[in-house]
Structure formats: structure tokens, C-alpha cells
Amino acid sequence: MARIGVFICHCGENIGRTVDCAAVSAAAAKMPGVVVGVDYKYMCSDPGQQMIRKAIIEQKLTGVVVGACSPRMHERTFRAAAAEAGLNPYLLEMANLREHCSWVHSNQAEATQKAIDLVRVMVAKVRRNRALRPIRVPVEPTALVVGGGIAGIQAALDIAAGGKKVVLVESGPSIGGHMARLSETFPTLDCSQCILTPRMVEAASHPNITLMTYSEVASVEGFVGNFTVTIRRKARYVDPAKCTGCGDCFNKCPIKKIPNEFDAGLGQRRAIYVPFPQAVPNKPVIDAAHCTMLQKGKCGLCAKVCPRGAIDYQDQDRLEKVKVGAVVLATGFQLWDHAAYGEYGGGRLRDVIDGFAFERLASASGPTGGLIKRPSDGKEPQTVVFLQCCGSRDDKVGKKYCSKICCMYTAKHAMLYRHKVYEGRAVVFYMDVRAAGKGYEEFVRRAIEADGAEYVRGRVSRITRRRDGKLVVRGADTLAGRPVTIEADLVVLADAVVPRPGSEKLAQLFGVGYDQDGFYSEAHPKLRPVETAAAGVFLAGACQAPKDIPETVSQASAAAAKVLGLFAKPELEREPVIARVNRTTCAHCRACISACPYGAAKDFDIVDRAGKVLRAVADVNEGLCQGCGTCASVCRSHSVDLDGFTDEQIHAELNAL
């Protein structure tokens, strides 16, 4: 005979304000099988948990329903409490009276009625719950880090420092990411490469880190603790084992006029190239699309000059499988293409550039050696207009969200420009200046007060190019309430931060969710900002949302800590929500075997003592089963059932409604 205890939480006022908790617990006390029905201010507090533990022991409860917040919030907490009192944790269920009831309804009678129904459903379910034991699966203590920017590098280094192996996959020829392209960094103006390159080198040389540049994730199998990831190693046409990085090949390569992506197209590279002098690994790749040898079979100069015979035109993409227990996604961001703004020249005005282009102009290692020269004629711009929120906070043409980093780097740009062109004029158009962060506000003040950047609050409506090459910037000063026109030599647009192309596809491979803008979804916006809904897959950096360097680095370290925590135990405890087959009634139609996303459902022969096969049925591999229950619902005879969500439980829930 069931002895159920029902515990209704007021959550302070959060539930109590709209739900008559006393009425709910009173109603619950009258439900079939319920022997305890009480309500309390804070069930998750220690006295609250103690109340549950005490009742379990004294009332010999066979099941518990806690009516409180969402189970995503506190199910673990309460199940742990139940376990401490000797009740199998899976005999406790939660009714979601806060997120699904008190917070979304204002009519007290309706909310209370709904709360009672939700509790009744859970009481009906918990009466059919069975004690379950967690499933243990071995963990492969190697991590996969996808993305070789500062996020990926930091995560990889921290995991490696924790003594675990890491495979660091980067799609480009070198690690370093966007940070390697920056001149100086706010708010301290220290040189980006000076602080980054040592980390790049450390990552490449660390005994625990296997570096896979020019590589991409092709496919993913398995689950937390036991992923098998197939990596596509793209053809480099240069054997890294032989190459010494001497540079003879790219100095001789006749194809010279390829815009260099690293320099935002302001500089040029060869068909065989290293993206930038400090690249790691500092070994060239051949850009097949531009190489005459690979396109037309003529030339072959690089092969001739290479002293080590490292050039291999026959090289092809290779697929490599790695077994890993956890994954950190750190695929980063790119800038939104402002071509969508016709009024700003639609991307056709050469002297209207984005933030990265300006970084390269300002960078000592950039195409201009750190001199600010405008792309069209190489002249030093005397007036530069910086335009914030270009594509951000604009849900018509651009993005709804704030890209967060633009206010700071624009201030930095204005500052850097003024440091390099003393007489120059830096005008910044802004909607708001958002400088929340240690030393950030001070930094912006400095740009304005010490370095004389002119901040104009307002939007720019139009940028046109005059015959003499001047850019006429028309806008409004909304503080002064008058139109402004500025004749500029260079305009820098702070384009919105958007996810990398293909990030959705990658998310799908790992079963990670993403929002409407393509940024990866965290498991919980506050309490699980590093985890994803896919167990064992963590997030670092701007692939989740726009972030600056310090934020990115701290999240990367957090992800690393999560990975190390996961690897701390040789075995992983998994929720025992798995499917089971009733071999007596299974007709072996094999629908479940076809349906199972994990290959967990498989054929099984029932044999007699002599080993003679009597009958074939379906069977489920506990280790592989992830508990989606698809097999159960394709089974016409309901011979497959799912622990934790059994036919009996669901039937009872429906009968309670």
C-alpha cells in the first residue's frame, strides 16, 4: 500500500503569493495513497529538507512529491535529501508550482486549482515509481576542444594542467583566433600578441595536448564519457613532419595577390602561406583554390625550392577518429557583414571598414606596420568617424541584441588613432556607452577626456563618398537635437558580433541547442552557464554570446574545471532512465531497433540450455541507451517500456487529470 508524502513549498512569496499553498497541501492530503500533506515557507532550506527526511523515516513513506520550483532547479537537491533518509531517490518527484504555475498566473483560484492538479498528477505518478539504481559507465579521460582561439587555448591548457589529455581542433591553419589579430587590448592597452603567443606556443608544446589545426569535426557518436568523434584533417599539401617552416616556399610562390583573411583583406598572401608570422604551427598550407599546380597542374615551384621535400600535391583530406569523454565548444564569433546597410555604402566604400580592419591598421605587425593609412589611397586619415551598434540593437536589418564588446573596442580605436595621429579628429557616434567592467568606464572617460575623442549621441543616417574622396557622414546629435554632417577620411563600423558560419551544424552533431541567432544555448542561464543540454558538452567564449577576452578566458577555465570534475571519477553515474524489453511479448518486428538513435536496441536470441535458438527478440544495451523512449512508442504491443516514464506512470498521470 502506497504511503506518499506531499510537501508544498511557498518559495517565500514566489509560490505563496498566487497559489494558496495551504489549500494545495490540504487537497493533497486527501488524495489516494497520501499520508502526509504539508506546506512550508522554504522546502529547499535545511529545515525544509529535514521535514522531508523526518517524514520519510517516521511515516515510512514509499514515495514523495515536492510541489515547488522546476525540477530542473531542485530535483537533485530533494532526491539527495530523500536518499539521506533511506528512500530511493527515484521515488521522489516534483510538481512544478513556480515556473509553470505561480509565476505565470495571477488569478489565485485558477493558479491554486492548477497547482492541485499538478500535484495530483505527480502523486498518481509517484505511486507507480520503482526504485532505480544509477547506471555506471566508464569515462574516457580525454577532452576534445573545438576551436583554437583564446577560449579553446585557455580551456585546453587548464585541462592539460589538470593532468588530462586534450585534443585541440582548429579549422584554420593556425591557432590564435581573433585575439591574434588585435593590436592592443582594452582596458590596459597591452599588446594582444605579446600576451597571446606564449599561450599558443605552450598549447602546441604541451605533452597533454594534441593539436589538430586545419581540421574540423565531421561526425559524433556516443555520449558523455564515451564520445567517438571523427575529425576531418584537411589536406595541407605540406607535410608538417618534414617542414621546418623556413619560408622558402612562400617567398618563391608566384601567386602573390590573394587578399589575406588575417589582415581583413588589407594585406596580401601567397597561394602557399602561413596566415601570420607568429602562426602556430608555423608551417604553411597550400590554398588549393588559388594554387596553379593544384588547379592546372603547372608551376610546382614550391616543391622545387623546398629543401626537405615537404610539399605533397597528392595530399588529401583524412578522417581520424578520437575517443573522448567530454567536449568543449569554443568556436567563437565573426563580425556581421554591414553590406546589408545600403545607407552606409553597402560594403562598396573602401574607406568604410570594420573593427578588425582597423585593428590590423593599428597593429605593428599589420599590413601598414602600425601606421593608420586608409585603404583607398593609403593616405593618413585626418578625420575618422567611428560608428557603434552597426547591426546590433537593430532587429529590422541587423540583430536584436547588444554585441557588448563594441563600446569598449571603439573607445580603444579612437584612443589608438589619436595616439598615432595627434592632429587627427576621432568622432564616435553611439546610442549608449555600455562600459560595465573593471576599469572600463575609466577607460572610456580617458578616451574622451585625455585623448579627445568626440562622442556624439545619435545615429548616422547616411555615408556618401564625394568626388575628392571625402566620406560625408550625415547623422543626428540627439542630445543637441540637431543634424550633424562630418567630412571624414575613414569610417570604422562596429559591426555586430555573430556566431561563426556552420556553428548550427556543429551544434546538431553534438546535440547542443542554439538560439534564434545561432548562439549556443547553455543548460541554465544562471546556474549552469557553462554546460549545455547535451551531457558532457561544455561552452567557452563567444560561441555562446558576445564576450570580451577576460570573460571568455574565465568561462574557458570554468569549462575546463567542469571537464576535470567529470574526469575526476573513473566511472560516470548516469540517470537510470533506460528502456527495457518484455521478451515474452516482443514479436521482434525490429521497429525499435530501427528507431533507436544510439544503436542501443539490438537483436537478441533466446536459446535453450543446449544453445538452440528458440526465438529472436529485441534487447536494449544499458550502456548505450540514453532514455529517449522512442523505442517504446514505436512498439505496437508496448513490449518496450522506459524506466522513469513507464506506461503505468503515464497512464496514471493521465487518469489523474
Binding site: 486527501k30 488524495m31 489516494p32 515474452t584 487518469n655 489523474a656 487529470l657
Partner: protein, 333 residues
């Protein structure tokens, strides 16, 4: 003689309904003739043996025999409405009426079944003598006749080449119905048609003797190969009366249902252990034949088959109990 035109049977139904009877009669719907509750405007189709039998109205295919209200403490019994509407069944076949003896016997044997008997007492059965028979009919082989009166309260006999029907009341209930229907009946002479000529096909006693002695005969294995194990025969049979008790619960209450069941189903004898004393269809078919021609007669001194032929008419696999009996009789010789 009291007569009514065959084409005007609905007048009789109208009169009875006006006199407070619920009228049940064979009517065609979607190509199938079925005993149904009559309502003004519906045409009565007396021609053929309906797909369902009279038993539907005495022993319905599903009925609630008990209710339990779901209460805080648990379950508590709740009342069940016993409805026994005064009913007149028109144009029952003699083989339907003949089945009542067998049903009465089993529902009043060790326990008097309230629900059945209430309906039985409220029912007046007016059968219709058969002037033709099809290849499935075999009432004459099981002690019946195309114009048999067993079990009937009144009988309609075709006359003047089927144009007229002559009504004869046979019991008190019948006479009461006769009174109630007076308005719809004419008085006058009529030449009764000859009942259908239906030669006897087998001797049920000989069949019974062989059955009692040949439980393990290999005959059964092959005799039941075609049987697919559905319940069509048992559900159409005017005598079959096996039922299954099922408790079904929803939020409000638990209902104990009495549903028809069939010895043709594998589930019929399946034990909770998984063991099934009637492991295959041959054992189930044997049970069906033995129950009708051996077990039941021994217990109640009456056959559990009236030769209506519904089971064979409806069987998708062509199982025919009369043919089986013929072969059994031959085996016995």
C-alpha cells in the same frame, strides 16, 4: 386469424411502441441486417437471419456490473443502474427463440443473474417462421424447426405466398402483446405458407457420444487449421454466453465490466504464469464443439447450438460447425 401485411410490419412496431414497448427488429444498415431498436421511419427486414442474435438484448456485449467510487481512503461501492425496459422483439428467428432455453439455464444455474433475468422477464419474443433456409442453416439437425415455437411468446407465420403474416400468441406475454398490437392487426382468412424444407444433416447424440470419447483425437489438429482465433462465431451465436470481467479505472471511479468473451481467443485460458491449458487453436475449436454438443447437454440436458448457422455464415476462414459435426458422426460410425 390475426394477420398483418409483411410490408406493413412497421405498423405493428408503431402500435407496440405506442403501447409502451421498446421494439427490437431486424433492419438493414450498410448492407448488414442487424437486430436493432426500431424507431419510426425505419424499415423492418424480415427476410434473412440477422448478423447479430437476440442475445444482444438480454446479455449485452458489455455492461457495468459494479462501480467503485475513488475516494480519499480508497474505493467505495457505488450504485449500478439496472435498466430492464419492457421490450418486444419482432421477427426473431425460431433458432433465436430456441436459444433462450439454453441461456435461461446457464444464467439461473448456481447463481441467479439479476441483470439477465430482469431483461429476460421484460422481453416478449415474437418469432417469425422461416419459409426458406440457406446452406448454413441446420436447425432441424439440432432439434429445432423452421417454424419451431420453443422459447417464443408469439409467432408470425408467412401466409398467402409471403404477402401476409399470421400472428399466434403462445404465452401470457404473447397475449399481452397481441392485445397491445390489436390496432395494427387485421382479422380474416389466410393460407399459411409451407415452412422451409431443411433435411437433417447429422445426429447430435451420435456427435456427443464420439466427442466424449475422442478428446485426444488427431482429428482436431487438422480440423482447426483454418481457424484464426477471432470471436466472430461466439459473438454471433445466440447461445454462447461466456464473459470476461474487467476492472477499468479512471480518475473518478473504477468500473467492473462484463464483456463477451470467446473460447476462440488464446487469452481465454491463458494463466498468469504464462501457461495455457489450451495452447493452440485446435484445442480451442475442440472446446467450442464439445461445449455445444457434449459438455453443455450433459450439464443442462439441452444442446448449446440451435442451428442458426451464423457462426459459419460469418466465419472469414470458412469454419463450419455443421460440417464438422457431419465428419464427426462419420468418424463415429
Amino acid at each position: 386469424m390475426k394477420t398483418i401485411e409483411t410490408g406493413r410490419l412497421s405498423d405493428l412496431a408503431q402500435a407496440l411502441s405506442a403501447a409502451g414497448y421498446r421494439v427490437v427488429a431486424p433492419m438493414e444498415e450498410g448492407g448488414v441486417v442487424r437486430f436493432r431498436e426500431w424507431a419510426p421511419g425505419l424499415a423492418i427486414a424480415p427476410g434473412v437471419v440477422p448478423a447479430n442474435s437476440l442475445k444482444d438484448f438480454l446479455f449485452p456485449r458489455s455492461e457495468v456490473v459494479a462501480r467503485f467510487a475513488l475516494e480519499p481512503g480508497g474505493f467505495s461501492p457505488a450504485p449500478v443502474e439496472r435498466s430492464a425496459v419492457k421490450t418486444a422483439v419482432l421477427c426473431a428467428r425460431p433458432c433465436d427463440a430456441a436459444a433462450l432455453a439454453a441461456l435461461d439455464a446457464v444464467f439461473n444455474w448456481d447463481y441467479r443473474d439479476g441483470a439477465y433475468n430482469a431483461r429476460r422477464e421484460a422481453a416478449t419474443v415474437v418469432s417469425l417462421a422461416c419459409s426458406k433456409a440457406d446452406e448454413h442453416c441446420f436447425c432441424t439437425s439440432v432439434g429445432g424447426a423452421p417454424d419451431g415455437v420453443a422459447g417464443a411468446d408469439a409467432i408470425l407465420r408467412p401466409a398467402d405466398g409471403g404477402r401476409l403474416l399470421v400472428l399466434d400468441a403462445l404465452t401470457e406475454k404473447g397475449r399481452a402483446l397481441d392485445q397491445a398490437a390489436a390496432g395494427a392487426l387485421a382479422e380474416g382468412p389466410a393460407a399459411l405458407d409451407a415452412p422451409a424444407a431443411l433435411p437433417r444433416r447429422f445426429d447430435p447424440e451420435a456427435v456427443g457420444r464420439w466427442l466424449a470419447a475422442n478428446f485426444e483425437s488427431p482429428f482436431w489438429k487438422e480440423a482447426a487449421l483454418a481457424c484464426l482465433g477471432c470471436g466472430a462465431c461466439a459473438y454471433a451465436c445466440p447461445v454462447c454466453h461466456c464473459f470476461d470481467l474487467q476492472d477499468e479505472t479512471d480518475r473518478a471511479e473504477c468500473r467492473r465490466l462484463r464483456n463477451w468473451d470467446s473460447c476462440g481467443f488464446g487469452l481465454f485460458t491463458l494463466h498468469a504464469s504464462g501457461h495455457n491449458p489450451r495452447p493452440d487453436q485446435s484445442a480451442r475449436w475442440r472446446q467450442r464443439v464439445m461445449h455445444k454438443f457434449s459438455i453443455y447437454p450433459q450439464k443442462f440436458k439441452t444442446l448449446a447450438c440451435t442451428g442458426c448457422g451464423r457462426c459459419s455464415r460469418l466465419c472469414q476462414a470458412g469454419m463450419a460447425i455443421a460440417a464438422t459435426c457431419e465428419r464427426i458422426e462419420a468418424l463415429g460410425r
